[in-house]
């Protein structure tokens, strides 16, 4: 078992290394063009390159102008030096304007116990737009910290912002705020308001990086925010039940987000989106959630890649959305009760490819969803690999590996409105006489017992009873009970490479 696990993990890593397509170009963010100068780890984005092109175009302008003036305006002039100086003046002006963008950010205010500014709030009051406020190590109890200007709030050696269980810990009320490197703890708990570690409402463009959040009801709460980057944060919540608990990253009506490399645990939902579009969710980890590792409601046109969900009640619930790309994710150990690795409810036109579902009670549950594609997934060692409800239509289930599952497929109807093709089923007992790699007999994944268990769950008591085994053998000879419509006409003989 260990070897297999290793293999899967390696594949998962490989999947991370070879990303299917560059995502940078698709989701467009307004970054300050000088960012690569200020933060050398950032590579040039498109707009930076545009600016550089513009600069190359502008650069020869002074020379052209002086040549023009020299040759056409004063063709007989003797004193060329004047023009030369004017040219250099222009150049100097150009360079100055160039660097003025950088120098705009040069002001740095420092906050610490012995500094001029003892609290962050006073520093914010004193700061100008685009100033940097450096906060040194210490504990700052000033709940809530209201950020009313576009500033760069930078924590040096992880200073702690303690909300003292009162309200939001940090409340962003301005565009283009950067918060980097803080430990944010103890937001308020309330039945009426959603108190969060970092709260932002009605703003544009923020960057929240490298923060560690603990014991907040909501970790990050965004309402009507656009163009944000949430990167490399971790949050340990305090959710005890579904009602009082909050979400790790909560987006309400917020668009154009990048949510990358965050770790969420012990929240109600690790990551939650409602009415939010154009999001990129990549390489996050969400675990020990009370309800869902990640939850989509009415959130169309999103992508999530290479995330890892484990030990949640349900890994990911995608509901009421369209056009979602789910690729290279790993859904593990969603166990007990009615737990799903992935719950797809009222979803259309989405793609679920190259994901791994393992050790879940139900690997994938699909309810009232149409025209989705489930391609090249690894569905390993689940109780029920795939639960396709009768109200799902025109889904394509193709080239998946179904290995080591107790039940391959369960459904609650005898009709089939979906397309199953070329999957590998480890329970397939057929043969391949013409050696084309495809089984000669179709595979009927819904067994008599799995059909009845889906209707009367307590029949589980008869699991592995000899009666069931005999009946399944009999069923192979006389396929009366099986819904014959539901079949994989071209089952693959070999498993697809992991």
């Amino acid at each position: 078992m260990k070897n297999e696990e290793c293999e899967i993990r390696n594949v998962y890593k490989k999947a991370i290394d070879c990303h299917p397509e560059p995502v940078e170009g698709r989701l467009y963010f307004i970054k300050p063009w000088f960012r690569h100068i200020r933060q050398p780890q950032c590579r040039l984005a498109h707009h930076d390159i545009y600016f550089n092109f513009a600069f190359i175009l502008i650069y020869p302008l002074p020379k052209v102008i002086t040549q023009f003036v020299k040759n056409w305006v004063f063709p007989n002039a003797k004193n060329i030096i004047q023009f030369k100086t004017s040219r250099y003046l222009l150049l100097a002006f150009g360079i100055l304007t160039f660097f003025s963008f950088i120098t705009l950010n040069a002001n740095t205010l420092t906050v610490c116990e012995t500094c001029n500014y003892k609290t962050i709030q006073t520093a914010i009051t004193a700061a100008n737009t685009n100033d940097t406020i450096e906060v040194k190590k210490g504990i700052y109890k000033e709940s809530p910290i209201l950020i009313t200007k576009s500033i760069n709030l930078k924590g040096i050696e992880n200073p702690t912002l303690d909300g003292d269980n009162k309200e939001h810990v940090v409340d962003i009320g301005s565009d283009n705020v950067i918060i980097d490197g803080f430990r944010i703890i103890n937001s308020g708990v309330s039945d009426i308001r959603e108190f969060a570690g970092i709260h932002a409402e009605n703003v544009k463009g923020c960057e929240l990086k490298n923060n560690t959040l603990e014991n907040n009801t909501y970790g990050f709460y965004f309402a009507k925010v656009t163009d944000c980057i949430v990167e490399n944060n971790s949050s340990i919540g305090n959710a005890k039940d579904e009602i009082s608990g909050g979400n790790g990253i909560h987006l309400w009506s917020s668009n154009h987000f990048k949510i990358i490399k965050n770790q969420m645990s012990k929240h109600r939902d690790g990551i939650y989106f409602e009415f939010s579009t154009e999001l990129l969710i990549e390489e996050n980890e969400s675990f020990n959630s009370i309800r869902y590792g990640m939850h989509f409601m009415f959130a169309s046109n999103n992508k999530f890649f290479k995330n890892h969900f484990y030990d949640n009640s349900t890994g990911v619930a995608v509901m009421f959305s369209k056009n979602i790309e789910v690729k290279y994710n790993l859904f593990e150990r969603s166990r007990f009760g009615s737990s799903y690795g992935l719950l797809v409810k009222d979803i259309t036109d989405s793609e679920f490819t190259n994901n791994t579902f393992q050790d879940n009670t139900i690997g994938i549950a699909s309810d009232n969803s149409t025209r989705n594609k489930f391609i090249s997934n690894q569905i390993l060692r689940n109780g029920w690999a795939f639960n396709m409800m009768g109200n799902c239509e025109l889904n394509e289930i193709r080239e998946n590996n179904f290995i080591g599952n107790v039940f391959d497929l369960s459904t609650n109807t005898r009709d089939n409105l979906n397309i199953y093709e070329k999957n590998f089923w480890d329970a397939y007992k057929g043969f391949d006489l013409d050696r084309n790699g495809i089984g000669d007999k179709p595979y009927l994944p819904v067994r008599f017992f799995s059909y009845w268990v889906n209707i009367y769950p307590f029949l589980m008591v008869l699991f592995q009873s000899p009666v069931i085994e005999f009946l399944e053998i009999a069923e192979r000879a006389f396929p009366i009970m099986t819904p014959v419509d539901l079949k994989d006409p071209y089952p693959n003989m070999k498993k697809f490479p992991l």
Partner: protein
């Protein structure tokens, strides 16, 4: 008491040389070694297949072995009851001696491969030891039942057919009936009745309690979680073992009552 032990000792000596016991032990040994060898390191599969082998063979062999043995010793009984020996001592002694022989065969046949060839991975070892204990108790139960049946009918053909019928009923028919009940009355809340029905059949009881201990029980959804609540913990194991003891006690007592009144 001395009589009882003497009878037990005699039965043990008499039956330890029985070729069927050898065949039983050796076939168990081969089957379980092969299962463990080919099962690789998938403990769940090994336990599941061991379980189904034990549930199949142990009751069948115990029923046939016990009843034939009892019938064979009928003529001997006529002789021995001329001696001052109580029927209780003879019956108990016979039961003890036979169960000792049977369980020796069983424990050597299954126990050696299980204990030697499995990884000392704690979960698997725990489950296999549990399986050994359940098999031991199943041996006792079906031996008691076989003696009861033998005393009841005393005729070879009748005894053997009743034994086979009982085995068939407990092994197959019972589950089939449960399936029928569930499918027909599925609209009613049947969880608890089904749970009670499961507890009544020792084979079902052993099967369900072993499966609930296995890793993939967590994968079986709400119902298994529900059963886990009742049977999946230490209390469940204790309940199971005590139910199995009751299952041994009642047929043994009934058999003894019949035996003490029967004219042999």
């Amino acid at each position: 008491m001395r009589n009882l032990l003497q009878v037990a000792k005699f039965e043990f000596k008499e039956n330890i040389r029985n070729k069927w016991i050898f065949a039983y032990a050796i076939s168990f040994f081969l089957i379980s070694s092969l299962l463990i060898y080919f099962g690789g390191n998938e403990s769940a599969k090994i336990i599941a297949s061991l379980l189904s082998i034990i549930l199949l063979l142990v009751p069948l062999f115990a029923l046939l072995f016990g009843s034939t043995n009892f019938l064979d010793s009928l003529s001997f009984m006529e002789v021995i009851f001329t001696r001052p020996i109580s029927r209780f001592h003879y019956y108990t002694g016979k039961f003890l001696g036979l169960s000792f022989v049977l369980n020796l065969g069983y424990l050597l046949g299954v126990g050696i491969p299980v204990l030697l060839f499995t990884n000392p991975e704690s979960k698997l070892l725990f489950l296999s030891i549990q399986l050994l204990v359940y098999g031991f108790l199943l041996n006792l139960i079906f031996l008691a039942l076989s003696l009861l049946i033998a005393v009841l009918f005393l005729k070879r053909e009748a005894v053997l057919s009743v034994c086979l019928a009982l085995w068939f009923y407990l092994y197959l028919l019972y589950d089939l009936l449960m399936l029928g009940i569930s499918v027909n009355f599925g609209e009613y809340p049947l969880e608890i009745p089904i749970l009670i029905l499961t507890c009544i059949n020792p084979l079902d009881l052993v099967r369900i309690i072993t499966i609930l201990q296995m890793d993939n029980a967590a994968l079986l959804g709400f119902t298994s979680a529900f059963f886990q609540k009742f049977l999946g913990n230490t209390n469940g194991i204790l309940l199971c073992i005590s139910l199995l003891f009751i299952w041994t006690g009642i047929p043994f007592y009934l058999g003894y009552r019949l035996f003490s009144k029967k004219d042999i």
